[in-house]
Symmetry: none
């Protein structure tokens, strides 16, 4: 639904909506058994829920399109992922609770390892520890870019650790632009690329970034300050230069008081971009449910994120994905006990273990709500859901459907 | 998928995609048996393919919309038929290998028969022979439009036979416009209409066309040069005045090296408008397969067109359509032997024999590819495919799906 239409139809009421996202939920058949991860997992609670729900599949972005985590979630939040586009840098900054200001430019950084010729030998620098990442970021913060021509006031620099080899670079100053190309060549054996402007307004920023990269390279290549062995993180790459998007909030558009319960920074960051309050949550699903329970009265929309189905899928670990699905299944009674009026069980995209990657396949979906029609789904998996009454539909339609079932959408037209 | 999105996500790889189109594929139940043409035909090979494929139905243009051949094919080529619109004249010109230039205006012509009062008694002039059509076109080429106010250089005229009563008129000169209304009243008993401008920029062209029609009428009404009997083709009608569209090619948008294997000129013409190379092909399906085989290494996308299912449907000949479907079925093993990574079996629209016309009904579709999910289709017909995992979807989504399954679409968003 178009944002303006949603804004004109949505009303607040006392109902509670929950969106439970299993990241990378959808799968594909195992070559030996012919059964998907969901078909293989023993999920009596999810199956029972399917029998009480309206079922189907979501298409996160468009048929054939494999979504990143950003578009996959934005669609489930009711925002058209082809219209609400966010640069990786701004997303990463939001995900670490960095207070990105409207004029700032952010980029996602990776520490990496280069050989004597400057070619990348490890794009992730052996996944250095979080502590080492924080030390290196602190070091790089010492770089001074003042006096360069991006603005009269010079440029303030932030280098913030994310986890392992990942960090966020933020430039703050006048006249900065996100029109700078990635320096990450996205493969090993190649050298990091020079920062180049992708449009005239990016030229001053590209020069600043080049200056930063040059200084950083000298610092990182210097004598190891750590364990005595050669420093794995002896270079860096940057990608996704972007400013903070200025989007309408879910409170404004959908008249919801929304909360996000997610352990991973990126999902909290995404949620905050549409105006959700990010609540603290531990890594386990029970932690998330406890957080929801404690905050039940303060909000009327809860986005609960479960990451490990995706991680297992990305690792190509079919059995672990099955185990994670069963872990979720065991938590379903506690979810139901909270008593949401509308409960959506969804995924941001498919991550079939046999592909060890995100994929374009439609994603299993069910919604337990008042006023749904019965359908013939007796289990929650990629085959049974083909009999679902919702069919295969755009993921951005899920929230309007939930609002309708929650009595939160008024009539259109006289 | 929007063309710009497709362009930004598509990559080339070594995979091969084949689109096999049975023109007018979809049907409706025979009133006596209750079974459609596909349900009636014995198609063991297509049925076996359906069991290995993801199945569903395509909607060529929009629900309820009966497509012409142009929109029906453009959608399957991945181009939104509501955005990529082509005038009939430009289509006919492309279909006879006429080198239509950007400034030219083309129209589709019919020789017809008029009575003494000028009213049309046969819109197709008794379907005159191809030879007679060529003779008449040669005669009309003698008309001179030089000196008329369309441009300082005068206007060059081309009159090109298509087949039977059909020809193409092309005007070449400065300042011409396609904004001219059809002169074809589309029914017998009416007189051909005067060429009128549909917008101010079409006025000069409309005057030129009126002059051409006037001269042609005199020439065609003259003493018969042929068999001695009265000339059936004693007048003409024109429709679909249009310039050549300037569309992005499939190579540019989808990173494909595309080939068209079609016996009928119109389908070759359509394919060339999106940048396909049209390969020579005889009338039989085996000719087409031989052409594909000979050119297998040079292309990575093959559009193979089979016309006769539509012809039988248009003729209202249920049994012949059944026979043609069985003819295709027999060729399926040879198609599979070519070894396409992704094989789509599709139709540009339905042509139910009981309607003897194109229709709006969704069109049977299946795609055999790596990484499809299992579905419950055990036969290729309008009833069995209702259990397909692809559901009923826009025909323009078929190519993006094929690209995804061929590993040719990169991820959208971070």
């Amino acid at each position: 639904m178009d944002i303006d239409l949603a804004r004109s139809l949505s009303i607040a009421n006392g109902s509670k909506i929950m969106l439970f996202v299993m990241d990378g939920l959808g799968g594909l058949p195992h070559p030996e058994t012919g059964r998907t991860e969901l078909e293989t997992a023993r999920t009596p609670n999810l199956d029972a829920l399917a029998r009480e729900s309206a079922c189907g599949f979501t298409v996160p972005v468009a048929p054939g399109v494999t979504p990143g985590s950003g578009p996959g979630h934005l669609a489930l939040f009711g925002y058209d992922p082809l219209k609400f586009n966010i640069g990786r840098g701004a997303l990463e900054a939001a995900g670490i609770d960095f207070d990105l200001r409207p004029q700032d430019v952010a980029a996602r950084g990776n520490f990496c390892t280069v050989d004597g010729s400057g070619a990348i030998t490890d794009r992730r620098a052996g996944r250095i520890s979080n502590e080492r990442c924080a030390e290196l970021c602190a070091k790089l913060r010492g770089i001074r870019l003042a006096g360069l021509p991006a603005g009269r006031q010079g440029v303030e620099l932030f280098v913030e650790p994310v986890r392992e080899h990942r960090f966020v670079l933020v430039l703050r100053g006048e006249g900065l632009s996100g029109a700078v190309a990635d320096t990450d060549p996205q493969r090993e054996g190649a050298q990091p690329l020079e920062p180049r402007a992708t449009a005239p307004e990016g030229e001053a920023t590209a020069r600043l970034v080049a200056r930063f990269v040059g200084e950083a390279k000298r610092m990182l290549a210097g004598p190891s300050t750590g364990s005595g062995r050669a420093e794995a993180a002896n270079m860096l790459t940057l990608r996704g230069f972007a400013r903070r998007p200025d989007w309408p909030s879910m409170a404004d558009v959908f008249k919801l008081r929304p909360a996000a319960v997610a352990h991973y920074p990126m999902y909290r960051g995404l949620a905050k971009l549409v105006g959700m309050e990010a609540l603290p949550a531990g890594p386990a699903i029970d932690d998330s449910i406890a957080t929801v329970r404690e905050n039940w009265g303060r909000f009327d929309y809860f986005f609960v994120h479960y990451k490990y189905t995706d991680t297992a899928g990305e690792d190509g670990d079919f059995d672990r994905k099955v185990a994670k699905l069963e872990e979720v299944d065991a938590a379903v009674p506690a979810l139901l006990e909270l008593g949401p009026d509308v409960l959506m069980v969804a995924g941001d995209h498919s991550t079939p273990a046999v592909m060890a990657a995100h994929s374009w396949h439609p994603v299993p979906f069910m919604m337990r709500a008042p006023r749904t029609r019965a359908d013939a789904c007796d289990a929650f998996n990629e085959v049974a859901l083909q009999r679902g009454s919702l069919g295969t539909f755009p993921a951005m339609d899920a929230l309007p459907l939930a609002l309708a079932h929650a009595g939160r959408l008024t009539k259109y037209g006289a």
